[in-house]
């Protein structure tokens, strides 16, 4: 496309300095700036500025009352060398992320792909069944009712009735059960935005691609998936991956709602809890910003790895 434009323009790019050329391009694309303008201004004010300020705060000591005091990298040193709970939180976060991230990502895609072939009416119902758990803000509380620690909880009651256990299990107060249960609940609510975007993406694929592929010798649905569906869906796959990362690393709300805060012996304490603890309760905003920056770097790293992996899809 850019080649065509170069032909149209009487003056070629070589005749100008880089800045002159950029300026000319900017003038030529006035409409484009009008289109991104409103969004970018709001984005800049309400996202970029706060993030930049938080990164600055991560090098300070700030309690919301006094002016921030520069402390250099002290916060970072304290975080890695002096904060055992943070190390524990890192471990838990990585476990959560490593389990719930890939599983929910792959499940979202597989289920979206499977139901894409159902007849439209049935597909609508099935989509609703899978998507419904993530639609309501607090419906996951049903798990705390089902796994309630007294004998009226459905799981305890049923197990006791069958004679499998004698006394009710305190599901969300027992180190052995907290992590697995929270993972299950997280997965239950995880077929959300990415899942929907996969469904929508599958529906916008040009059907003639599959017919052409069949003629070209694609033998089964798995080959079709690998050589056609996945490569065409790459933009949606990338979108889903970013969401899976933010979801699985930012995981914590569910744990707090189900196990209380802090969880027993910090056994389900995640980086997000640690951050909220310092930012929202102890008002050590500088230190919590440091945690946010570290979490940010971890997520960027995993994003880069996934980007690399996705570029190999379909080859």
């Amino acid at each position: 496309m850019s080649q065509n434009e170069a032909v149209k323009r009487p003056v070629s790019r070589k005749d100008m300095t880089k800045w002159q050329w950029t300026w000319k391009e900017m003038k030529r694309n006035k409409t484009a700036y009008l289109m991104v303008g409103p969004f970018m201004i709001l984005f800049f004010v309400f996202t970029v500025l706060p993030v930049a300020f938080s990164i600055f705060l991560s090098f300070t000591e700030f309690n919301l009352l006094e002016w921030p005091k520069m402390v250099g990298v002290d916060n970072y040193v304290r975080l890695f060398l002096d904060d055992e709970i943070f190390i524990l939180a890192c471990k838990n976060t990585l476990i959560f992320a490593a389990i719930t991230g890939p599983v929910s990502y792959i499940l979202s895609f597989l289920i979206a792909w499977f139901i894409n072939e159902l007849p439209p009416k049935i597909r609508a119902v099935v989509t609703l069944i899978f998507y419904a758990p993530s639609i309501s803000g607090s419906v996951y509380m049903v798990w705390s009712i089902m796994f309630s620690g007294d004998s009226y909880g459905w799981v305890n009651g049923t197990l006791m009735n069958l004679g499998i256990i004698d006394t009710p299990i305190l599901w969300f107060q027992d180190e052995a059960y907290i992590m697995p249960l929270c993972c299950v609940v997280a997965l239950w609510t995880s077929l959300g935005t990415a899942f929907l975007s996969f469904i929508a993406g599958l529906q916008t694929i040009d059907k003639s691609l599959f017919e052409a592929a069949a003629v070209d010798g694609i033998r089964n649905r798995w080959q079709e998936l690998w050589y056609i569906t996945l490569p065409t869906m790459r933009p949606q796959l990338m979108f889903g991956a970013v969401l899976a990362i933010t979801q699985s690393f930012g995981f914590g709300g569910v744990v707090t709602a189900l196990c209380g805060f802090p969880s027993l012996n910090y056994c389900a304490h995640t980086i997000m809890h640690h951050l909220d603890d310092y930012g929202g309760q102890r008002f050590e905003v500088g230190y919590s910003s440091t945690i946010a920056v570290v979490l940010f770097v971890i997520m960027l790293g995993s994003n880069m790895i996934i980007k690399k992996a996705l570029s190999k899809v379909g080859q």
Binding site: F39, L57, P133, V139, R221
Partner: protein, 291 residues
């Protein structure tokens, strides 16, 4: 190897083995049960009379369904000093304005970022993706300072304006514009003399209808579930969700009302979802999406 072309549901489906179909159906049913049973349990709980809620052994299914919990909830609603209709109005206003505004701003920006080649588009997009990974709790301090400076604290705008620039919607739209809108079609529209705005509205947007319906559902879901916000202090400006949570937190005696509240807050986003889903299917059924 001969390829068999057969039709299923009016569209060409290729190379499907019966064994694969059976395995997939089994998997879907298993997963479907895992997803659906807890949802069903909430509905059952909301229909149980008090003695069934506290009975041993507990039952999954309700024996004598009653609407007592709902009527309980409604009478509790009437005791709050801000009329409940006000909370509903607040949530509807915030949700509608935020969702619509986000849709307009995000799609416009997404179109430009995906299809127009202008200086700066690359780093703009990179920044948007990166921002998704920054945890927002620590941003609240800056948000508060900014919203105070704009005199938006304790108004609807404190929630609506930041929601307009939700980056997830833009990212979604941009990805779809990239994969589903062909440059050739846009180019021919431009050659016919259509302005960039017109091309965007009449050519690109209809092609990504599933994407913006997804954006609407997601944005709606997010705003509808807005609970307590540190930016709004006045009781009469608070959301439906906040108010209903206040009631539910009342304790044990209200266990049934809690389930009823969950069902009520669930119903609206699900209704929105169902409407937009049927819309997606209609558009897709009429085909002619490409070229």
């Amino acid at each position: 190897m001969a390829k068999k072309l057969r039709t299923r549901n009016h569209k060409v489906v290729l190379n499907r083995s019966a064994g694969g179909d059976a395995g997939i159906s089994f998997f879907l049913i298993l997963m479907g049960a895992f997803m659906f049973l807890p949802m069903l349990y909430v509905i059952m709980q909301s229909l149980k009379p008090l003695d069934e809620l506290w009975m041993f052994p507990p039952r999954f299914y309700v024996m004598n369904p009653t609407l007592e919990n709902f009527s309980d909830l409604f009478s509790l609603m009437n005791t709050s000093w801000v009329p409940f209709s006000r909370h509903i109005f607040n949530t509807v206003l915030i949700t509608a304005a935020g969702t619509l505004g986000n849709l307009v701003l995000a799609s416009m920006a997404a179109y430009a970022l995906a299809k127009l080649n202008f200086p700066g588009r690359k780093w703009m997009f990179e920044m948007i993706v990166m921002s998704l990974m920054f945890h927002s709790t620590v941003n609240q301090v800056t948000h508060f300072i900014l919203l105070t400076a704009f005199r938006m604290v304790d108004t609807y705008l404190a929630i609506i304006v930041p929601a307009l620039a939700t980056t997830m919607g833009l990212y979604l739209m941009k990805q779809f514009m990239e994969s589903s809108v062909s440059d050739a079609v846009l180019e021919s529209a431009r050659l016919d003399g259509a302005s960039e705005f017109r091309t965007f509205l009449t050519i690109a947007m209809p092609m990504v209808k599933p994407a913006w319906l997804t954006l609407i559902i997601e944005s709606f879901k997010g705003l509808w579930n807005t609970g307590a916000s540190i930016y709004i202090q006045s009781e009469q400006l608070k959301s439906f969700n906040y108010a209903i949570q206040q009631i539910v937190n009342g304790g044990v005696a209200r266990a049934g009302a809690g389930a009823a509240a969950t069902v009520i807050t669930m119903v609206v986003p699900i209704a929105v979802f169902v409407v937009s889903q049927s819309n997606i299917i209609e558009t897709m059924g009429s085909s002619g999406m490409k070229d």
